[in-house]
């Protein structure tokens, strides 16, 4: 099917975009990479009155070092992240996970800000940002807010973003040498949305400290397994009792069903991906 008709604006500055977004005259929706919004419009699941194209706003495309963080503009595309030396050096978890997000041609257009704003329960990015303890900077005409990834993602396609706000950038703490990261997902075909997946960050491994274990594609949004983290923090990686306890706590997560798997299957797969990701938590800085 084709998208229904809409008006189209392509501002060159962030300010112009925010002014348009705050206007009550017309209901407008931001367009980033279009790799989710365009399919939704073609399927007529989305019918915005006006599209506000962010692709010409240079202010939203940057990757920069800021003290102990890397700041990434909302319009940075997955392919650009994968090619960035800063990302390779400072956010090794992205390097592990990004090749699993969709396919090359989709990664050439899809943006980090689009994935964050969409909050697809099957998407990798929200889970990665929670595992990394990242923060999301949002802007409106009159204010800016900084929201932790833990507080930003509220449910299926639901975030803390207000309708007059844009995702401006993402702030990710840089990895230091003791940090360890893991990522594992099960998908029927490379690049497809996962049946179940997990992203893990830890400040150290022997013993585990400050673990963040975040699942995607099992629940209504990226979900932290806090009880599993508690069962493992302070324990050594070969402590099989602790691992067993952690795996048991996963049955308490709120699983959803999709066309591919029942909630019981999702629970089983969550155990599988967590064990596999933990077993190869890799070095932080390469």
């Amino acid at each position: 099917m084709k998208a229904p008709d809409f008006q189209y604006q392509c501002p060159r500055t962030l300010n112009d975009a925010l002014v348009q977004l705050s206007s009550d005259d017309v209901e407008c929706q931001p367009l980033a990479g279009g790799q989710s919004l365009m399919p939704m419009m073609n399927l007529r699941l989305a019918q915005p009155e006006m599209l506000l194209d962010l692709n010409n706003i240079a202010e939203l495309s940057f990757i920069r070092e800021a003290g102990s963080h890397i700041e990434i503009g909302a319009m940075v595309r997955y392919a650009t992240l994968l090619e960035s030396k800063l990302i390779h050096h400072h956010i090794p978890l992205f390097v592990q996970a990004l090749p699993h997000i969709a396919h090359a041609a989709i990664r050439n257009r899809g943006t980090i800000g689009g994935s964050v704003a969409l909050a697809d329960p099957a998407a990798e990015m929200p889970a990665l940002l929670k595992a990394l303890d990242a923060t999301i900077e949002v802007v409106s005409k009159s204010s800016t807010r900084t929201i932790s990834a833990d507080d930003f993602f509220l449910g299926t396609y639901e975030t803390a973003l207000r309708s007059d706000e844009l995702v401006h950038s993402i702030k990710v703490p840089v990895a230091i040498s003791e940090h360890r990261y893991g990522f594992y997902e099960l998908a029927r075909r490379h690049g497809d949305y996962a049946l179940a997946g997990v992203a893990i960050g830890a400040h150290s491994v022997e013993p585990y400290t400050n673990l963040r274990i975040v699942f995607f594609s099992i629940s209504d949004c990226a979900v932290r397994a806090v009880e599993a983290e508690d069962a493992l923090n302070g324990k050594l990686s070969n402590d099989s009792t602790a691992l067993g306890n952690a795996l048991e706590t996963l049955s308490k997560l709120n699983y959803y069903e999709d066309a591919n798997a029942s909630s019981a299957t999702k629970n089983h797969l969550a155990r599988v991906v967590m064990q596999r990701a933990l077993s190869k938590l890799s070095t932080a800085v390469s």
Binding site: D5, Y8, Q35, P39, R109
Partner: protein, 181 residues
């Protein structure tokens, strides 16, 4: 009345100007307005890959980009893939390996294959399969498509070795750079 926008772009080396409605996607513009029906439209959801084409040297889904967004861009479609060395070699290799049957997926397969080869991809079949994972083929079972891509990479690798052994020989054209960079 829907809003129309004037766009000017380069398509396969030719300058094109048009006035297009916002809702028109790039691949429909190329097919219906310019008569370039080589790029195919399968799903209009980004899933099948048949519409994959090059915009400013980067392979994208033609169904997930608007024609208005291509204003000022340089577009290369399957109709002109054969004009690049990689494209020509890959098309020849597709013929030699019988890498198409009905041909519906072929424009997108060629696009992804060219992208793979030009970004310095190896002959590793798993890598090739990962790179073309976004392109559906309902006929060939993929085996022959992977063969065709691998064979071009192999040919280039052996040419590179020969070139190294023959001082003063011409550059072989093996490039590790992404197209258009």
């Amino acid at each position: 009345m829907s809003q129309k926008t004037n766009i000017a772009l380069s398509v396969n080396g030719e300058q094109v100007q048009a006035s297009v409605p916002a809702r028109l996607n790039l691949v429909d513009f190329l097919r219906d307005h310019l008569g370039l029906t080589g790029s195919h439209v399968g799903c209009e959801q980004g899933a099948c890959g048949a519409c994959t084409l090059s915009v400013d040297g980067v392979m994208v889904r033609g169904c997930l980009m608007l024609a208005v967004q291509a204003d000022g861009a340089n577009i290369i479609t399957v109709e002109a893939f054969g004009e690049s060395v990689t494209g020509e070699q890959l098309q020849q290799s597709f013929v030699e390996h019988n890498a198409l049957q009905c041909g519906f997926c072929t424009p997108g397969m060629l696009a992804s294959g060219i992208d793979y080869i030009e970004s310095g991809g190896s002959t590793d079949r798993t890598h090739i399969r990962k790179h073309i994972s976004g392109n559906y083929c309902r006929c060939t079972g993929y085996q022959s498509i992977v063969d065709a891509i691998a064979s071009v990479v192999e040919g280039r690798n052996s040419l590179a070795v020969e070139t190294k052994q023959t001082p003063g020989a011409e550059e072989s054209g093996t490039s590790n750079k992404r197209a258009g960079e």
